[in-house]
């Protein structure tokens, strides 16, 4: 039995089908800020909320894949990005401890991240719409390279995997953008959470210009400090997930992606 995600549609069955999509898309923009606000109450509640979110993510990964694309997960990614950005720019910057250069670097990294993921989605949508790989002939016959993507319900050539958090397939043409986006997202989060945590907590000089947070005991004294701290903790969790994604890409997909090139190289060397 395939278990489906619990949506508003399940709770209120009299709602029309088209409403389900809208609610799923808006839900993360309400749920995530609400969870972060609850987490500002105390350290114990922060830990509980972060564990709940972590368990939610694990649950999503252990479920069998849905047939329909759900906008919930992509909306969760967007709401995470928007929430973390707003908290950083309004609360962390409001404490006047971040310099203009540091914020400029952060905005630049964020812009690169957004650009790469935008290109990734644009190429994926283009591929699915036109059904052809750029610069390559599309084979209408299922070859060993082509797969049927259950979530997109479309046959795609050289499908790598489907990312539910970006709501698109990652194929050969947009794989580089996916990887670049993940690396930029990692750098952005690393830099942003470092700035945030060293602002909210007592920092120390680790090496040269690099500061690290040392003592966060005062983080829950005021609301804005605790919101900044909780958002940075959420950002660190996100950082951890991105690191796992990058490691997984390195270990599994890079050899697969570069296998044809390696084979060519080996053939050339053998001749």
């Amino acid at each position: 039995m395939v278990s489906s995600a619990l949506t508003i549609q399940d709770i209120l069955p009299f709602r029309a089908n088209n409403k389900k999509v809208d609610m799923d898309a808006f839900l993360p923009f309400i749920v995530l800020p609400f969870l972060l606000l609850i987490a500002t109450i105390s350290r114990t509640i922060t830990i509980i909320i972060m564990v709940v979110i972590g368990m939610g993510v694990l649950y999503v990964y252990t479920r069998p894949r849905q047939k329909n694309r759900s906008p919930f997960f992509f909306s969760w990614t967007m709401s995470s990005a928007v929430t973390m950005f707003l908290v950083f720019e309004i609360i962390i910057l409001g404490l006047l401890e971040v310099t203009q250069l540091e914020n400029f670097i952060f905005l630049l990294l964020l812009a690169c991240t957004c650009y790469f993921f935008y290109k990734m989605k644009a190429i994926a949508d283009f591929e699915l719409a036109t059904g052809s790989s750029k610069g390559k002939e599309y084979s209408p016959v299922l070859t060993s390279d082509s797969y049927y993507c259950q979530v997109c319900q479309i046959e795609v050539n050289e499908r790598f995997f489907h990312s539910i958090w970006w709501d698109c397939c990652v194929l050969r043409p947009n794989y580089v953008y996916f990887l670049a986006g993940q690396i930029c997202a990692f750098a952005t989060l690393l830099f942003g959470t470092n700035l945030g945590l060293t602002t909210v907590c007592q920092p120390f000089i680790f090496y040269g210009l690099i500061l690290l947070p040392e003592d966060c005991n005062d983080a829950y004294y005021e609301f804005d400090l605790s919101l900044g701290f909780v958002t940075c903790v959420y950002g660190v969790g996100y950082l951890f997930v991105i690191a796992l994604v990058l490691i997984r890409q390195l270990l599994i997909y890079l050899p697969k992606y570069s296998e044809p090139q390696w084979r060519k190289l080996v053939n050339v060397l053998n001749v």
């Binding site: 006047l96 401890e97 310099t99 203009q100 914020n103 905005l107 920092p203």
Partner: protein, 315 residues
């Protein structure tokens, strides 16, 4: 195609707008600011000693090597002890014996229920490297009203003026200077000494900040009638002093960020004062009537401890 082109334009415009909005200079702290260069420091120092100072030394103290000292002290010194034979007199006063000091400074510390022993051990260890004549005044508020840092500083300054000190340093008890080259002497203009605090990421939050540790000549302090006595609770009394100095056309100065490094101990943050923004908006108008000239308090006791002069007051 036109749709996607329009989308790209919109995204581009939003990105540029975000960059513009979040580039406003008022949103940032400053890692660099105008300061007195190291090679000019001695020229900008105001040399004056306490009228009551007697010294048997033959030569004047030289401060070149102190200004060029690159070492950093560790805050862990607070857990140590003072050296044997430290030569500190009762009341926390010290006069270097090997040379005649050029600077006499009274360090005024407003205090209530914080960690004091570690601060005193650290500061006396720190001052041994500076060869200045100094005395530490701890002004303790013993009543239960909100903490009034400015009034305590006024009381301490009045005591320092009575003792004949020409230079006072208004010092928070949770700040430790990390560099011995940060000389505790007055410059010709009032100086904001704590411009690079670890708690603030070693960044100056705003250019007109005048809190933490400042040095000011007692003549200048009297000219602005000291600080306002009305700020009960945390906040804005340092901005009030800054506006008083500006009203009398005093400019403030700083040393470089590396010299001005301080370590702030995390401590229980105080309740913010309720009326501080109202008081601050009328700071200049209240200058003449509110300050050193209108200082009324009950002095509970003055005790000359071995390491400090303890003045307990009820505001």
């Amino acid at each position: 195609m036109r749709c996607s082109y329009r989308k790209k334009i919109i995204y581009g415009v939003i990105t540029i707008l975000i960059f513009i909005i979040f580039s406003h200079p008022g949103l940032y702290g400053r890692s660099s600011y105008e300061f007195i260069e190291k090679h000019n420091i001695l020229k900008y120092l105001h040399e004056e000693v306490n009228v009551n100072l007697t010294s048997n030394a033959f030569t004047n103290c030289d401060y070149h090597d102190i200004i060029n000292d690159e070492t950093t002290l560790s805050p862990n010194l607070i857990e140590g002890d003072l050296v044997e034979g430290h030569g500190i007199r009762d009341g926390g006063e010290y006069i270097p014996q090997d040379c005649r000091p050029k600077f006499s400074t009274a360090i005024i510390v407003p205090y209530r229920a914080e960690q004091l022993r570690g601060f005193l051990v650290y500061m006396h260890t720190f001052f041994r490297r500076q060869r200045i004549h100094y005395r530490i005044f701890i002004i303790e508020q013993v009543d239960s009203r909100p903490f009034n840092r400015a009034k305590l500083l006024n009381i301490g300054a009045a005591a320092a003026i009575n003792a004949g000190f020409p230079c006072i340093v208004l010092h928070d008890v949770d700040l430790l200077p990390l560099r011995p080259s940060n000389l505790y002497a007055c410059t010709k203009q009032p100086r904001h000494m704590s411009s690079s605090i670890n708690k603030f990421r070693f960044v100056l939050p705003y250019l007109t900040l005048f809190g933490g540790v400042i040095s000011i000549r007692t003549s200048q302090y009297k000219m602005v009638n000291g600080m306002s006595n009305e700020y009960f609770g945390w906040g804005a009394e340092d901005d009030d002093l800054y506006s008083r100095l500006r009203a009398c056309n005093f400019k403030i100065c700083r040393f470089g960020p590396e010299i001005s490094q301080y370590h702030m101990f995390s401590h229980k943050l105080q309740r913010k004062g309720k009326l501080r923004s109202d008081l601050l908006s009328f700071a200049r108008k209240r200058m003449a009537a509110d300050g050193l000239s209108s200082l009324h308090y009950l002095e509970v006791a003055t005790v000359l401890h071995p390491l400090f002069t303890h003045i307990m007051v009820d505001l």
